[in-house]
Amino acid sequence: MFETITQRFQKIARLLKSKGIVTSVDIDEVLRDIRRTLLEADVSLAAIKQLSANVKEKALGAKVISSLTPGQQVLKIIKDEVELLLGGTPLDKNLLENVSLVFVMGLQGSGKTTFCGKLALYLQKANRTSLLVPLDVHRPAAAEQLKTVSTEAGAEFLSNTAGKSVLKICEEASVAAKKIGIDTVIYDTAGRLQIDDVMMKELSDARMKVRPDLSLLVLDSMTGQQAAQIASGFTRSVKVDAVVLTKLDSDTRGGAALSVFTETGKTILFSTSSEKLDQLDLFYPDRIASRIIGIGDVMTLIEKAEEIASTKEMEEMGKRVLKNEITLEDFLVQLNELKKMGPLNSVLEMLPGKGGLPKIDLRVDDVMLQRCEAIIRSMTQKERRNPSIINSSRKQRIATGSGTQVNDINRLLKQFASLKLILSRVSKQKRGFLKKGLLGL
């Protein structure tokens, strides 16, 4: 997500930074670019207008004009405004610690049931048990789907609900939750359009009955200009505490993410990607804003890496990375580990790209990963540790050995070289970047 939008913002950033003085004409030009970028990304007109007005007002203030680096000042203002569009302050993470009744709502096909499973797994990691309750009495086999999902997430499931009314199921759920001692009850409601009065009434009736302490609206991140209408429609009929943005593994430009808060005042709590139940992330507006503007999201990257890289081997490798002594063997381990962190593209999005990092094509899919593995396994130990000795006859041998082409080997070596370059930068920046933040780059 956000890839295209980030590229455009980086172009704008380069333009701004090249300027010694920033005039109001420059600002207008930049704002035109931003408007177009955001429009193409499905951001709502209201959100764009808000951003433009605020950027203009702040950018023309005295502080910018007297600054030695006006371009960076303007960039900082834009980043702050993008952060504001994304909701500004993130929701309190501890919110989830005391939540006992969660309502999950949304349009058809937005990903409610899958999210319920992800939430259950997330809570389980925090040592909280959950009960999944199927309130979708309309779509055929909806309960069966939730049942399978709850098994996969290791959560309890309220069975024997077929043919019962929504309110009856709510009653049975609270009885069951008390009986087996459950920390969190998650209600998976039926998909509905916010303009369907009958269905919205069903939802508000169920809400009155259950009185959930957290009501989540699930929104497909690919939603277009309708995102605002959908969110405010739900907000009008039932209380919505926060939004969950799904399907971030698509190549959406993130219009929904950038519009929801302006239009409804609701903050995004989680973002999710893929059908795998562990792909659930807390949503941090400041980090996402940094990612959109192209200054990277090192915080999330470090957290993710820490979550995964706990083994001795990874620690050792971490040290080598910091010393910039990474080898192709590490690269192989790294590729496999990165796979666990999610698609490599989403990992790379978090890296600061502003300093003109080499453009690298590190699209990792399983086929490519297999090929890389085959290539590295066809190398001698010496070659793996010191790839610079790989000359053309060695390449020929490796290609034959791994069933690939010399081209593939060249590509791998090139990617390895650029990875090394990035890692060396990250290791250099790690301290400096975190301390100095945006303007320190």
Binding site: L39, L45, A141, M222, G233, K247, D365
Partner: protein, 305 residues
């Protein structure tokens, strides 16, 4: 139901979306006297708010503007008419007819997760079964309970569903379904597949394999490769269409959830930028909430006539 009747049903169902589109354009046109230049920006904004997309909106506005200038038209009503004509002309050559040739004619239904593929498959099967012997292949072996869902729907409409088991290779499920369709001498075989992100090369390759398996076991098939898109999706629709098309050579687009407040502007984008035919529209959870795409009816609805 005749084709005309099917199309008519659409009108009442998408009124909600239609009127919003109309309001935006009317508002822009009302301001024509106040601000002669601003009106074009406003028209462009209303098209973009309807998810028409920046490039297609610009193209539409430019061509209306040119024609208005050439014919020296400044009357809002006239401009309204020109815009409507230009909108309809985007769909010139659109062929909503489904090509169902072969014994059986195979229809492969694909799309990203949650767009409404399974519901569409049931609606299409129900519609076609009035005149033909139809069989459904439940080849979504990935999503939990997807096979149960289509089986229940199949029972409701009285169309047999060839079931696979969860976790099976979908191509194997399709192979079985083709054999079953032959044995039962079905005329149409509709294949419901798992939702897949267009950004996943592996899943697109899996879909391409399904298509190859169909072609190998039923020469000349599939007759139709339909891509189902959600009308509430924004500009991502075009990315979906491009990626699916490059793997599967999509023969037509099906747009769902038109009973939402979506203005379905993405239909214009897909048609204008990809030159794919819009085949069918879906607008609700009722089994007969489906119609063939008729540009004139659709645009009359959008413009509120």
């Amino acid at each position: 139901m005749s084709r005309g009747a099917v199309t008519k049903k659409l009108s009442s169902s998408i009124k909600a979306s239609g009127s919003i589109f109309k309001d935006a354009i009317d508002r822009a046109l009302r301001n024509i006297y106040k601000n002669a230049d601003g009106i074009w920006d406003e028209l462009e904004e209303s098209l973009i708010s309807a998810d028409v997309g920046v490039a297609t909106s610009l193209y539409l506005i430019e061509s209306v503007r040119k024609e208005a200038a050439k014919r020296r038209v400044s009357d809002p009503q006239e401009i309204h008419k020109i815009l409507k004509r230009k909108c309809i002309s985007i769909f010139d050559g659109n062929d909503a007819e489904l090509g169902l040739n072969g014994d059986p004619a195979v229809v492969l239904v694909t799309g990203v997760n949650g767009v409404g593929k399974t519901t569409f498959v049931a609606k299409l099967a129900n519609l076609l079964s009035e005149e033909k012997r139809v069989l459904i292949s439940a080849a979504d072996t990935f999503r939990a309970a997807a096979i149960d869902q289509i089986s229940i729907l199949g029972k409701r409409i009285g169309v047999e569903v060839i079931r696979a088991s969860r976790g099976d290779d979908p191509s194997a499920a399709i192979y079985d379904a083709i054999s079953a369709a032959r044995a039962k001498s079905a005329q149409v075989l509709i294949i419901d597949t798992a939702g897949r992100m267009h950004t996943s090369a592996n899943l697109l390759a899996e879909a391409a394999k399904m298509k190859r398996v169909i072609a190998k076991n039923a020469p000349g098939q599939p007759s139709e490769v339909l891509l189902v898109v959600d009308s509430t999706t924004g500009q991502n629709t075009i990315m979906q269409a491009q990626k699916f098309d490059s793997s599967l050579n999509v023969t037509g687009i099906v747009v769902t959830k038109l009973d939402s407040t979506s203005k379905a502007g993405t239909i214009f984008t897909v048609r204008n930028e990809m030159n794919k035919s819009i085949k069918m529209l879906c607008f609700g959870e009722d089994i007969d909430a489906i119609s063939y795409f008729d540009p004139e009816v659709f645009i009359n609805n959008l413009f509120g006539e």
